[in-house]
């Protein structure tokens, strides 16, 4: 009970601290912090339009967060979701624009292609770590830059739609193949992908022997070897699954929002997912509310711009502060008196 309270209260406290610090920052630039908070709330959750905009942003974040959360079970810190999202999206666009058939079939092919490519990309970092001892955090970060370069090269070169003049894009996947909205809502179906993927991952981690084995590897790799677990396979599998989730986020962005792969895909959802995963303490279920919260904050950027004449990147400052306070608050874990059970 106390451990659960600690797991919830520490990140919530850190978020409050981040809001306070952001308020100080707003005071310094001459804005009323209370008005800013009110606008963030209004822009994120204050109306049905705000909710729709929040959910649209939360959808890819739930998936990219898994790219950090699943490998984290096996003790890896992976920040390669951005690259997996881009290449996954590119693969989805390439498949979507070339495969003919029923829309559902095309969509399934797009999703599979995106997941395979995204998964393979992040597995590169896992393989480097397992076989050569390369730090997976650094390698997955660097793989992001390689992915961006590769993405730009392909979108502006071999895969470019000649009709896309000002904004180089791949061929469009076609209106019929787009993911639609939830009936009666202006929220695309990609959100369902995220929710289902999170639930499945939570079941995998919490309730299956595979997830248990992953957590043993993450907790103590020597104990895992003693138990005869296939450590390399588990590490690669975790990276592959995480990468598949991020790749699927790319497919959702292409199939539900942009209709083709282009520079709009480079929107930072991969990095935001890392933030989501850390705030959620790498718990796939907690990823959902946290993604919603950060989606709301991101969605409110426009409000701040319109009403207070602040650049819409101001909310990135809030995100950055939140990341720092969360990481700092992690060090308090187990050190606060209130949460330490009295030893018998």
């Amino acid at each position: 009970m106390q451990r659960t309270a600690e797991a919830v209260l520490i990140p919530v406290g850190a978020l409050c601290a981040a809001l306070l610090l952001f308020g100080v920052f707003m005071l310094l630039v001459g804005k009323d912090p209370l008005q800013v908070y009110a606008l963030i709330y209004k822009g994120g959750f204050g109306s049905s339009f705000a909710w729709q905009s929040t959910l649209a942003r939360a959808a890819p974040m739930t998936l990219t967060a898994l790219c950090a959360a699943i490998p984290a079970q096996a003790g890896l810190v992976i920040i390669g979701a951005e690259g997996a999202l881009l290449l996954g999206g590119l693969a989805a666009a390439a498949v979507g624009s070339s495969v003919a058939g029923a829309p559902l079939l095309v969509q399934v092919c797009m999703a599979l292609a995106a997941m395979v490519v995204g998964g393979a990309w992040v597995m590169l970092a896992g393989a480097l770590r397992h076989l050569r001892g390369v730090n997976e955090t650094i390698s997955s970060l660097l793989l992001n830059y390689i992915a961006i370069a590769l993405f730009n090269h392909l979108v502006e070169g071999p895969l470019r739609d000649p009709a896309s003049l000002n904004k180089p894009s791949t061929l469009p996947i076609g209106e019929v193949n787009m993911l639609g909205n939830f009936p009666g809502l202006d929220v695309h179906l990609g959100l369902a992908f995220g929710v289902v993927f999170c639930l499945l991952c939570w079941v995998l981690v919490r309730h299956t022997s595979v997830g248990f084995a992953l957590r043993i590897v993450g907790g103590n790799v020597r104990a895992a070897r003693l138990a005869g677990l296939p450590v390399g396979l588990l590490l690669l599998g975790a990276c592959g699954l995480g990468g598949a989730a991020a790749g699927l986020a790319g497919m959702v962005e292409v199939a539900a929002v942009h209709g083709a792969a282009n520079a709009s895909l480079v929107a930072g959802y991969g990095y935001a997912g890392v933030l989501v995963s850390f705030i959620a303490r790498h718990n796939p279920l907690a990823v959902l509310p946290v993604a919603l919260l950060l989606g709301g904050i991101a969605a409110s950027g426009g409000q701040l711009q319109r009403h207070l004449d602040l650049p819409d990147a101001s909310v990135l400052v809030l995100q950055g502060i939140a990341f720092m306070t969360i990481l700092a608050a992690e060090s308090l874990r187990g050190k606060l008196r209130w949460f330490t059970p009295a030893e018998a």
Binding site: T208, S209, A213, I216, N220, A223, L226, A227, G228, P230
Partner: protein, 527 residues
């Protein structure tokens, strides 16, 4: 470098950790300019003693007298001020900095702005009188291990230390490098510039370089003397305990297993095994042994002779270089399926670090071997938490594990209870082979007896037990057959009932082949 060595005397030093007496009235004297060796098994109290001297720990009682004045050393800084310094087993130099930078930065007071030209001149001056040269401008990372250790010593001298404590200074060096470094130190002590107190496991170094030796055993001085006066056999006997001590232990020893109960075919057979240590050097060399069902085979040896690597190879934590391991006649590759099918269990040393996940609960840790099988996992996939708890409750009560409950993180248990929990897990299924390493290290008397009892019981039920321990008494008490490991090889084998401590001590020291008269050896082993 006209320093004068310190004269050291420690009188009646006692140190307790809770109920455990680490040092029990230890006295030691190292006169000015002497080279004093400190011998003892792991856990004998050597490190605690020198930590009390350098100020990392405070003794509960006892005196430290340096140059005829009693000193109250409470911090390392105070020890440094007196002129006491320490060189550790592992290097404390900054690899990417040059030797000169390392030396200057180590000083207690470094000015904000360093005038490197003046520092260089001062450094050259200070090092002029030393018999060996080290290149000052080379980054430490580019130096060989022996040179690094020399720089460590140089650093201490440069800082004006006149009593140097060395904690296994040669464990990272080749024998030739070790001889050079120790020979140099020996020269300094001869010249009266330095007093050396060296912790070591290597009898050879003691015989070649030390003037005097103090042997610790279980927190007490078991012997002391000047080196020409003691020979290797004496040292071995002092370190592992006397003949009388063994006779006492032998009374507890269970009768040797009757041959009928032993299976004919070995349950565990190792042939020509080769494995490397963390440093990439050979640690286990062409090692062969057999363990039959229903016997406990003990491996004795001074620590660092490849025992750790042998155990890690057997339990799946280290890749072997070559050689064959067979369990029940089947080639063994330490996979999970084989561990289960062939019944291989393990109780490695430091079970919390080697066999447990600290943050996971007792119940989860107890499920480490069985979580992917019914009844703990339906269909091998779906975890059933209730079964986890049920299994844990059963094992906790069977093995008397003291814990707040099955859900307590295993990291909150005491050492003995972690040991019990792991043993419970490893023996809860039928084990054909059990690999054990230092199973009672740091445990109290009652826990020791209980764990030994469990091992004997497993043996009596037909398990082949291979037990590596640095505590010879433990092996003499528990094992049926005793092997001695030295330098990665098995160098001696004897039934425990016929074991002679003197012979074993000599083999542990690697000196058996160099004994002066072969006849003594024969008589000794036939006793």
């Amino acid at each position: 470098m006209a320093t004068v060595a310190l004269d050291l005397e420690m009188i009646d030093v006692t140190k307790r950790f809770g109920g455990f007496v680490a040092l029990d009235g230890v006295s030691l004297r190292a006169p000015r300019g002497s080279f004093h060796a400190l011998l003892g098994e792991n856990g004998a109290g050597k490190s605690t003693l020198v930590k009390c001297l350098v100020g990392y720990q405070l003794a509960d009682s006892g005196q430290v007298i340096v140059d005829a004045r009693e000193r109250d050393i409470r911090t390392p800084q105070q020890a440094h001020a007196i002129g006491i310094g320490m060189v550790y087993q592992h290097f404390t130099l900054v690899p990417c900095m040059s030797v000169a930078e390392n030396l200057v930065m180590a000083r207690a007071q470094v000015p904000m702005i360093i005038d490197w030209r003046r520092e260089r001149e001062a450094l050259e001056d200070a090092l002029r009188g030393l018999p060996f040269r080290v290149p000052l401008d080379v980054p430490v990372a580019n130096l060989a291990a022996g040179e690094k250790q020399k720089v460590e010593i140089l650093k201490q001298l440069y800082l004006g230390r006149r009593l140097l404590i060395l904690d296994e200074p040669t464990s990272v060096l080749t024998p030739a490098e070790a001889d050079e470094v120790l020979g140099y130190l020996k020269g300094l002590t001869r010249a009266g510039a330095l007093t050396v107190l060296m912790i070591t496991h290597k009898f050879r170094e003691v015989m070649a370089f030390a003037d005097a030796v103090t042997v610790l055993r279980r927190g007490r001085v078991s012997g002391t003397g000047s080196i020409p006066g003691l020979d290797v056999a004496d040292l071995g006997a002092l370190m592992v305990g006397t003949r009388e001590g063994f006779a006492g232990a032998a009374e507890h020893a269970s009768p040797a297993a009757p041959p009928a109960r032993l299976g004919d075919r070995p349950a565990l057979e190792i042939r020509a095994l080769e494995a490397e240590g963390d440093n990439g050097l050979p640690a286990v060399r062409s090692l062969s042994l057999q363990v039959r069902p229903g016997e406990i085979v003990g491996i004795a040896g001074v620590s660092g002779n490849g025992q750790r690597e042998l155990v890690q190879t057997l339990i799946g934590q280290r890749q072997r270089v070559s050689g064959a391991i067979q369990v029940g006649g089947v080639a063994y590759r330490a996979t999970r399926a084989q561990m289960r099918a062939l019944g291989v269990s393990a109780l490695p040393e430091e079970p919390l670090g080697n066999a447990c996940v600290r943050e996971m609960s007792v119940a989860e840790n107890m499920a480490l071997r069985s979580f992917d099988r019914p009844p703990l996992a339906a269909g091998g996939l779906w975890l059933r938490r209730r079964e986890f708890t049920r299994q844990a409750r059963q094992l906790i009560s069977d093995y008397k594990v003291k814990t707040r409950g099955p859900e307590a993180p295993i990291g909150t248990l005491s050492g003995g209870n972690v040991q019990r929990a792991v043993l419970a897990r490893e023996l809860s299924r039928k084990a054909a082979v059990l690999i054990v390493a230092n199973p009672v290290f740091g445990l109290d008397f009652a826990a020791v007896a209980e764990i030994h009892q469990r091992l004997r019981k497993a043996r009596d039920e037909g398990t082949a037990v291979l037990m590596v321990s640095e505590d010879l008494d433990e092996l003499l008490e528990v094992s049926d057959r005793l092997l001695v490991m030295f330098n990665g090889r098995i160098v001696h084998e004897t039934p425990t009932a016929l074991a002679d401590v003197g012979t074993i001590g000599r083999h542990m020291a690697g000196h058996a082949g160099m004994e002066s008269s072969p006849s003594t050896q024969t008589t000794a082993s036939s006793q």
